[in-house]
Each structure stands twice: as structure tokens, then as C-alpha cells.
């Protein structure tokens, strides 16, 4: 067993620090606040163990929203952040970047999806949506307490591109890359490049030749 | 949030009936109309595409008075041709059911039962493609309360299947399509052929 591996395995042990969690409930304009009252979720979250700061914010992703999170991290000595807002597919990188700017490890931030997977899907059941938003926020708070600071893994980059398909899009991509001094392998399954475009006569709307 | 719907709207009532579910999917390409045999052969005013628009835009009076509502025989030539997979005859039947419910009469002739000879064998019920015939307990002079075939004029399309199937010639179409007329026509045709 290498020492490196042993060190790595300790990363997964239980975190030792006392959590000081900041919770931000986003209105997203009326996208969230139009269905549930965010203040009620704030009230609820504020009572949970480890939470030292809970507040609502009109747009968490906006400059002002992010500034508030960054200021709070310093002011309240936050070591964990929960943002109840939209999908992680939308803004996880935003909020990871935000807490990192305030000196917090980006992996100590957790999002609860109370927009796509709550208010947008349960407009017909406001009470149910509110209960769900509370549960999702609580679950993010529970998870965040156990998170470990992690470092991104750095990998080298092979400085060569491959373009699969030699039609008009592929040829153009290959040319653009090559003009930036990046070597390109352009792969085409037919005996000639050109794709469908080469089979066309003139092309709209300018009626110039395709080849 | 879905908008509240007014269940009294014609379009909502059509959608609520079996076959009417896909009413709103129509993008008015006209394939159904041009596939149909009725416009060129029977009535130039016949147009299923227009009937669907009338239903979509809540034009109730126009829809109920539309010849399309009453002439469709549900042959379903249009159904497999529809690029939006709308069961057009289903939509038309839904409109027709609502018209009948509101007291509109089918302007087409419907099958007539001779209640004095009907033996309630149920053959006509079996063969009717439109579920227009059923056996109903009826008081018949001289025969008492007995089940006899009964035609729902709202559903009958006057195709004559019942008449062809009946073993006691108790159900038939009025006037021109009566058995006697058809047999006379056939004899006339054969005589012509022989000449």
C-alpha cells in the first residue's frame, strides 16, 4: 500500500471540523417565490443544527447574490454553504466559483434544486412544493456537514484534435483548429471529404456553388 | 401551472370523449380531406379539417350544422394518413355525440325496425359497425313487452349492414335502399346485361 493511497483514504474519513453552515434560499424572481414563500424555508433552515446563517435572496446567481454569500463567509466564519435554487446542471459551477473566491473549498458547497425539481413541477400543489423545498434544503444541509474539501485533479493535455466527419461542419472545425496551430486528424468514413454538401448543386440563399 | 379549463367549452367536451383526445394536435395540413371519398363523390361541402377547426375555435353552431358531422362513415381512410396520428373519425363522432345530446337530429335516413316481425336474435347488434343497434324491452301491440332491435338515429350511418344480416327482413333502410328496391334494381341490371 503506497503512502499516497493511505493518505487518500483518509480524505474519506469523517470531517472533524464543527460545521458553520450558511443557507441561501433563492427567489429566482417569481420562478420560486411565485409558488412558495422563501421566508418560510429560511425560518425552517435557520433552526437546523449547524446553520449559523440563513437568508433569502432575490437572485442568488446575480452579482449581488454572490457578493452576499462571499461577505457572509467572512462575516459569519462559514465553512459550509447551501444554495437552494436551481439545478446543479445550471449553476453548480457558478456557486462553486463563488465560495472559492471567498477562500472556501468549492466542494463544501451543496445545492438543493427547488426550481426545476420543485416549484416548476409542482405549481398545482403549493403546500406540497413548500414541504418538498424544506426537505430538499434540509437534505442538502445534512449532506454538506459531511463534505470534505477536495482538490481538482490535474491532467495533462494531448495537443492534438480529432474531427470525426468531413462534411461542412467538420471541415470548418478542422480549419479553425489548424489555423490556431493545433494539429488535427480529420476522419471521414467515405473515400472523399465533403459530405452531403459536396453533392449539392447551388446553395441558398446566395446561390453559390457548394464545393 | 396549467390554466384552468372551462369544461363547458366545445373543444374541452370533444377532448373528454373517446377519440376526441387529440383534437388540438391538428396543424391543418388537409391530408384527411383529400384522402376522404365523401367530398368528391357525395358532398363538396364535406371537410373534416374544417370541422376540427370549428371544434377548436368553439364554433358550436357551425360544427353541429356542418355536413361533415353527419356524413362521416368512420371508414378511417384518413386515420393512417394523418401525420399527426389524430383519429379523425373519433373527433367527428365526439362532435356528433354532443350534437345529438343537444337535440340535433341526424339528417341522414337511419335503419327502421319492423317490431312486429323482429325476433331479437341480435344479429344486427353484432354486425353494426357503429354500435347503433341494441335490444330494448318494448311494448308491442299483440306481442306484449318483448325485446326488439332498436336503432339509435344519432349513431346510425345508414350503411345497411344490419339489413343484410337480418334473417327475418325485419330491419332495413327506408325508401330507395329497401330490400325490394335493391332486388328490383338487380333484376333490371341483369335484364340489361342479357339484352
Amino acid at each position: 500500500m503506497s503512502e499516497d493511497a493511505i493518505a487518500k483514504s483518509h480524505v474519506a474519513d469523517f470531517p472533524q471540523d464543527e460545521p458553520r453552515i450558511g443557507v441561501y434560499i433563492c427567489h429566482c424572481g417569481s420562478n420560486i417565490a411565485g409558488v412558495i414563500p422563501p421566508e418560510e424555508v429560511v425560518d425552517f433552515a435557520g433552526k437546523l443544527p449547524g446553520v449559523v446563517r440563513a437568508t433569502d435572496t432575490l437572485y442568488a446567481c446575480a452579482d449581488s447574490g454572490q457578493r452576499q454569500i462571499k461577505e457572509d463567509i467572512k462575516k459569519y466564519g462559514l465553512n459550509r454553504v447551501v444554495v437552494s435554487a436551481c439545478s446543479v446542471r445550471m449553476h453548480e459551477p457558478t456557486f462553486r466559483g463563488c465560495v472559492a473566491e471567498a477562500g472556501l473549498n468549492p466542494f463544501l458547497m451543496e445545492m438543493a434544486n427547488i426550481r426545476e425539481q420543485c416549484t416548476w413541477a409542482h405549481g398545482h400543489d403549493r403546500e406540497g412544493a413548500l414541504a418538498k423545498a424544506k426537505d430538499l434544503t434540509a437534505s442538502a444541509i445534512a449532506k454538506v456537514s459531511f463534505l470534505h474539501p477536495l482538490d481538482m485533479i490535474t491532467v495533462p493535455v494531448s495537443k492534438k484534435a480529432m474531427v470525426i466527419g468531413g462534411g461542412v461542419a467538420g471541415i470548418n472545425a478542422a480549419l479553425d483548429l489548424a489555423e490556431q496551430k493545433i494539429p488535427v486528424v480529420l476522419v471521414e468514413k467515405e473515400p472523399t471529404i465533403g459530405g452531403v454538401m459536396a453533392q449539392l448543386n447551388k446553395t441558398f440563399p446566395t446561390m453559390d456553388c457548394s464545393i | 401551472m396549467s390554466a384552468p379549463t372551462d369544461t363547458n367549452l366545445l373543444s374541452e367536451r370533444v377532448k373528454a370523449l373517446p377519440g376526441g383526445e387529440f383534437l388540438m394536435m391538428c396543424y391543418s395540413c388537409g391530408t384527411c380531406t383529400s384522402k376522404c371519398m365523401i367530398q368528391p363523390k357525395l358532398d363538396p361541402n364535406y371537410n373534416p379539417r374544417r370541422l376540427i377547426r370549428e371544434a377548436v375555435f368553439e364554433m358550436e353552431a357551425e360544427a353541429f350544422a356542418d355536413t361533415t358531422t353527419w356524413l362521416c362513415s368512420a371508414c378511417d381512410l384518413c386515420y393512417p394518413a394523418c401525420p399527426q396520428k389524430i383519429h379523425i373519425s373519433g373527433v367527428i363522432n365526439a362532435v356528433k355525440a354532443l350534437a345529438v345530446e343537444q337535440g340535433w337530429k341526424n339528417p341522414n335516413p337511419s335503419a327502421v325496425v319492423d317490431i312486429f316481425t323482429c325476433v331479437a336474435c341480435g344479429m344486427c347488434v353484432e354486425v353494426c359497425p357503429y354500435q347503433a343497434v341494441s335490444l330494448v324491452e318494448t311494448k308491442v301491440a299483440g306481442r306484449g313487452l318483448i325485446p326488439v332491435a332498436t336503432v339509435d338515429p344519432g349513431k346510425c350511418m345508414a350503411c345497411g349492414m344490419c339489413s343484410a344480416a337480418c334473417r327475418s327482413t325485419s330491419i332495413s333502410l327506408p325508401t330507395r335502399h329497401h330490400d325490394k328496391e335493391i332486388i328490383a334494381d338487380l333484376w333490371a341490371f341483369l335484364a340489361e346485361e342479357a339484352a
Binding site: D13, G167, D176, T192, P205 | G30
Partner: protein
């Protein structure tokens, strides 16, 4: 085309197929099969002597099979690179080409396919589209009526480099048509074949109509359409120009084409919907504007690249608005019609955009990837105690785990993609995944089920597909039961049996086990591990006598928002159908059985603390809930 061949930094490999793509962003290893052309690229000078000598003729795909080519051929005279091919399926081995090639000695019948490996930093996928075959639509008679042709056949007939040298003629008699119709949306906007719009065909039929009018001004041209779509710059003006030239537009989708079998004249029956009348019109020739469809090998490419497909079969982008060029896999980008039908300006724009996305990576010396990798607790690994195991290593889709009996298993971090399959499979809980540890996930499950668990539907979703499906359900405002409570892990392979036992022990009403469809898995075979485990659990729960439907397995892609909403609503209906008393009784009856499965759970590092801490949260949540009630 020629620019690409001239550019010294572009290596053009034609007649080449992608066999395998391994690795990750910055470090892809791509295996290519360079199919044998039987002509040596280093010697062929493109003179064409072999073609002249070749006695064999077969149809040329490039000319839509309207013209022949030889067995020794190039698809067209402007082929790039201009290197000839010998088609071995057609060749009769007469060796006349070898003779004709003479001293150049470019033709080499001993050539075989070459397998090459390339080290690649980023990949742009631009595999394009294919055309719908209208012969399946019997109503239009393509294949039966010689004068019904497709749009691509029209392209070649109209092309001065094509088989007729640009003379537009009727296939039945070789005479120029005086009266042509174009039918749009053949196989597109048609739920029987392809429900979507093919994007460029409106413009495309207008273009062909204008070309016909320009070259043969006396010809009558009619376009049948459902809607004309001209959304880009200059397109509406182009449509105007067509009307100015006298091209007639008929709104209404024809239902049938019939033919006079002697003259091969065609008759189109269709409702002219502005007239509200069915009109039959006669034409000399009809062009069907065939739908754009995914490539026939799109499914295969999708599994080679491990990228998912949208409904309809096109490659699915990371985000339809914000990251339209990115695949869900970092370092793989889409350009052009492989992601959805596109016209030339859009394809060119996407080609440049994808190149820009790729160059972000290619201009960097290093790239960062998520550290959500697996780690082994060496003291817990049974292999370290000299027991034979290796389950983790076998479960790993990337061979990223070093297993030797007698030594603790070791994860090779650079190879680990972070699916968690090893974690889900390890029977001794000796391995975990960073950012998705058992402690973290159990804490989430326990809080989600803190109050009224019997009413709740716990949904376990994978990051790439089912979580995206749930997002799409919301984005599309498909409403579903608010009793759903979701957990996200990277792959269904990470969904530990313990999570599900714990959910039922806590009294969950229902549990959904969901992930990608098998062919879409972001982690090659992760879904297979997940699926096997889920099915095993299903059998166990059936044997325990759990009501059917309380445990459900569904594969839901990121494009199936409607399915996600439907599945949750169906599960809610299943729960509603069980009388509350019966459900309560069942939960109580199964609780000890679930608990028995979990006896070893607290031994996992961190889990006991997680259980204690969440107990505190649960108690608080219960109190708050009681206050409210």
C-alpha cells in the same frame, strides 16, 4: 474542401472508421480503422488511368445511384484527397488497372485494413445526417413511379457535374419536364416516421424551384407545403423572390400521387386548404423533399463515444440553450447536423463554435477534472487479509482498480471516472467515492424521509440522465406529485443496496431506482451494474411480500421529462391504491427484515457519526412538523 487538404496541420484520413474511444478530456485514446483502398496514397497521382481500364460498372452512391462508376473509382472528379479506390466487392481481379497504372505501381492488392491509435486532447463530432427513404410511404409512389424523385436525386440531375451534366430530364423518357411539383415534409413533421421538422427543407425546395425556373424559364413549378419556415436572415426575401419568379405555392399536404401507367404523367391529390377544396393537379415530374434523419450508424457512434441520443436519435447536447456544442462528456463537442438537422450557415457556425470550445482545452497545458473519484480503505479491504475477491476491479468499466490478492485494492486516480460502480458492488464496504460517501448519501435519505415517510417517493437518479430528465420535467412544467424526494449520484451503479434498505427501514412509501438507458451510459457499463443490482433487489422485495410497485426500476434519459413525470405520477397512483392501514402494517412487518440487512452499516467509516447527527436533524424536523400539525 481543398483548403482542408492543403492545410499542413490537418491530416485527412478518408475511408476511415472510428472503432474505439477511450480515456478522458485531454487524454483520449482513439482507435481508427483505415480501411484498405488497395491504392497506395503515397504513389497515386490521381490520373484516373485505372478507372479508364476497369471493365466493371456499379451504381455510384455519390450520384444517388443515377450513374455508374467503375470498380476502380473516385466518387466524384473533385474528390479530396484525389486518391483512387478499388471496390473489392465489385472487383473481378482482372488486374487491368495494375497494367494501366504501370510504372507508378500505386495499386497494391496485398493492402489490408490498418488499425491506428491516436492520442487526442479533444474531439469534435461532425458526423452529419442521412436522408429518409420515401419508398416506405406508398401513397407517394416513390420507387414505383419513375418520375417521382427525391430531393437528393434532383440535386444530382440539376448539377452540371452530375450524371446528365445539368440537363433536367424525366427519368421515364429523358424528356425535359414542363411542369414540376415539389412536396415538402415528406417523412418529417409526421408522427408515423419523424415527428420533428427537418429545419432546412422549406428553403431547400424553394432553392431547387428557383434553380429550375432560372435554367428553364418556361417550366411551371408548384410547391406543396404545410407551413413555409424562413426564419434566418435573407430567407423570407428568398421566398419572395420565388413568388416573383412565378413559382406557385399550395398550402396543403397531398394525400396521394397517382400515375398514368402509359405516359407516366403524375397526378397529385391534395386539399388546397386556402380554397377548402380537394384539387387534383397533373405534373410531369414530382420531387419529394425527404426528411433529414440521423445517420444509420448513429446508435453505434453513440456507444463508441458514450454520448446519449435525444428522442429522434440525434446526439444530445449538454444543455440545449447554454451549451449546445458540448456533449455531456468533457472534451467531446458536436458540430453540425449530427446534433439535429441544420442548414449550411448553421453547420459552419457550429463548426467554428465547436473548434473554439475544443481549443480552450487544446491551448491549455493541463486541464482539471472533478475529484469525485473512488478511494479504498486499505484496512477494510479483504484482499489485504489475503482473501480472494477482486469484485471492485471487475465492476470497474475503466480497469482503474489494481487488484492483487494479498494487497489492498488500489484505485488509479487518473483512470477513475467517478461512477462509483466499485463502491456499489464492494460487499465489504471497503471502498467509497469522494463527494458521494455512504455517510453523505445516507444523511440525505434520512432527512428526506424524516417526516411522514410513508407518503413519500424516494427517487434515486443518476447525474447524467435521470436527474436531467427530472430537470426537463420541471423546465417543461410537466406536473408530478410533490411527494417525490430526489437523491442524485453520478451513476446508477453507485446506488448501494443499503440506501434502499435504509429507505424502507425508515418507512418510505415507494422507491424509484432510475438511471440512463443501457446504450446511453456515461460510464460504459455502469448502468449494467446498477440494473443487475436493482433487479436482484426487486426479487428480494417480492419474496419479502412487498406490494408490487413500491419498488420501481425505470431508465429515463435527460430528454425524457415527460416520462419522469409520468413514472412519478404512476407511483403516486400505486401508493394511493394501497389502503393506509395496509401500507402501515406492511411497513412495520418489513422493518425488522430491512434492519437485518443493515447490521454492518455502522461499521463503515463515518456512517455512525452520520446516523447520530442526522438523528438530531430528524428529531428537530419532526418537532417542527408536529408544531405545524
Amino acid at each position: 474542401m481543398v483548403d482542408a487538404a492543403r492545410q499542413p496541420l490537418i491530416e485527412v484520413k478518408t475511408f476511415t472508421e472510428v472503432e474505439k474511444v477511450e480515456g478522458f478530456v485531454g487524454n483520449f485514446k482513439v482507435t481508427l480503422r483505415e480501411k484498405s483502398k488497395y491504392v497506395r496514397a503515397d504513389r497515386c497521382n490521381g490520373c484516373g488511368a485505372c478507372t479508364k481500364a476497369c471493365p466493371i460498372e456499379v451504381p455510384n452512391y455519390f450520384e444517388m445511384n443515377l450513374a455508374p462508376r467503375k470498380a476502380a473509382y473516385v466518387p466524384m472528379s473533385q474528390s479530396v484527397p484525389l486518391i483512387y479506390n478499388i471496390d473489392m466487392d465489385a472487383c473481378i481481379h482482372c488486374y487491368k488497372c495494375v497494367e494501366a497504372c504501370g510504372a507508378l505501381e500505386a495499386i497494391d492488392f496485398s493492402m489490408t485494413d490498418k488499425i491506428v491509435e491516436e492520442e487526442i486532447g479533444a474531439i469534435v463530432v461532425a458526423t452529419g445526417f442521412s436522408h429518409f427513404d420515401p419508398s416506405v410511404m406508398s401513397e407517394y409512389g416513390y420507387g414505383r413511379f419513375p418520375n417521382v424523385i427525391t430531393s437528393m436525386e434532383m440535386e444530382r440531375l440539376n448539377n452540371s457535374a452530375g450524371p446528365t451534366h445539368g440537363a433536367l430530364v424525366r427519368p421515364s423518357d429523358g424528356k425535359p419536364p414542363k411542369n414540376i411539383a415539389f412536396i415538402n415534409c415528406v417523412g418529417s413533421r409526421d408522427k408515423r416516421y419523424n415527428p420533428s421538422c427537418s429545419n432546412f427543407c422549406c428553403m431547400y425546395s424553394i432553392k431547387n424551384a428557383i434553380l429550375v425556373k432560372q435554367m428553364h424559364p418556361g417550366t411551371d413549378v408548384t410547391i406543396y407545403y404545410i407551413d413555409i419556415r424562413t426564419p434566418s436572415k435573407g430567407y423570407e426575401e428568398f421566398y419572395d423572390r420565388a413568388r416573383e419568379m412565378g413559382i406557385k405555392f399550395v398550402q396543403g399536404r397531398p394525400s396521394e400521387i397517382t400515375e398514368d401507367s402509359e405516359t407516366h404523367q403524375l397526378f397529385i391529390t391534395g386539399e388546397d386548404i386556402t380554397l377548402g377544396k380537394v384539387v387534383e393537379r397533373e405534373f410531369d415530374m414530382v420531387m419529394l423533399n425527404q426528411a433529414a434523419i440521423p445517420q444509420p450508424d448513429q446508435n453505434q457512434m453513440s456507444s463508441v463515444l458514450s454520448v446519449a441520443q435525444s428522442p429522434g436519435g440525434w446526439f444530445m447536447e449538454y444543455h440545449p440553450k447554454l451549451r449546445p456544442m458540448d456533449s455531456p462528456t468533457d472534451g467531446i463537442f458536436f458540430a453540425g447536423a449530427c446534433q439535429g438537422p441544420k442548414d449550411i450557415p448553421a453547420s459552419v457556425a457550429q463548426g467554428s463554435a465547436a473548434a473554439a470550445r475544443a481549443s480552450r482545452i487544446l491551448h491549455s497545458d493541463e486541464w482539471h477534472i472533478e475529484p469525485t473519484v473512488a478511494v479504498v480503505w486499505p484496512d477494510r479491504c479483504v484482499s489485504a487479509q489475503d482473501k480472494s475477491c477482486g469484485i471492485c476491479s471487475r465492476a470497474c468499466p475503466y480497469s482503474a482498480i489494481d487488484y492483487t490478492q494479498g494487497k489492498a485494492a488500489e484505485v488509479i486516480t487518473a483512470k477513475c471516472h467517478g461512477c462509483g460502480a466499485c463502491v456499489g458492488e464492494c460487499p465489504h464496504d471497503s471502498i467509497t467515492q469522494l463527494h458521494y460517501t455512504d455517510a453523505e448519501i445516507l444523511a440525505q435519505i434520512r432527512t428526506l424521509l424524516a417526516t411522514e415517510p410513508e407518503k413519500k417517493i424516494l427517487a434515486l437518479r443518476c447525474h447524467w440522465c435521470s436527474y436531467g430528465g427530472a430537470d426537463l420535467a420541471g423546465t417543461s412544467h410537466f406536473e408530478y406529485s410533490a411527494n417525490e424526494r430526489g437523491i442524485k449520484v453520478m451513476c446508477s451503479a453507485r446506488m448501494d443496496a443499503d440506501f434502499i434498505y435504509e429507505a424502507y427501514r425508515l418507512g418510505a412509501g415507494a422507491v424509484l431506482f432510475s438511471g440512463c438507458h443501457p446504450q446511453d451510459c456515461h460510464y460504459i457499463t455502469g448502468q449494467v451494474s446498477g440494473s443487475k443490482r436493482a433487479n436482484r433487489l426487486k426479487t428480494i422485495f417480492e419474496r419479502m411480500g412487498m406490494s408490487p410497485g413500491r419498488f420501481r426500476i425505470e431508465w429515463i434519459s435527460a430528454a425524457e421529462g415527460d416520462k419522469y413525470a409520468r413514472v412519478i405520477n404512476e407511483m403516486q397512483a400505486t401508493l394511493d391504491a394501497i389502503p393506509p392501514e395496509a401500507l402501515k402494517e406492511e411497513i412495520e412487518r418489513l422493518r425488522p427484515e430491512m434492519a437485518r440487512k443493515l447490521t454492518r452499516l455502522p461499521n463503515i467509516p463515518g456512517v455512525q457519526q452520520a446516523l447520530d447527527q442526522t438523528d438530531e436533524i430528524i428529531q428537530l424536523m419532526t418537532e417542527l412538523h408536529m408544531e405545524k400539525v
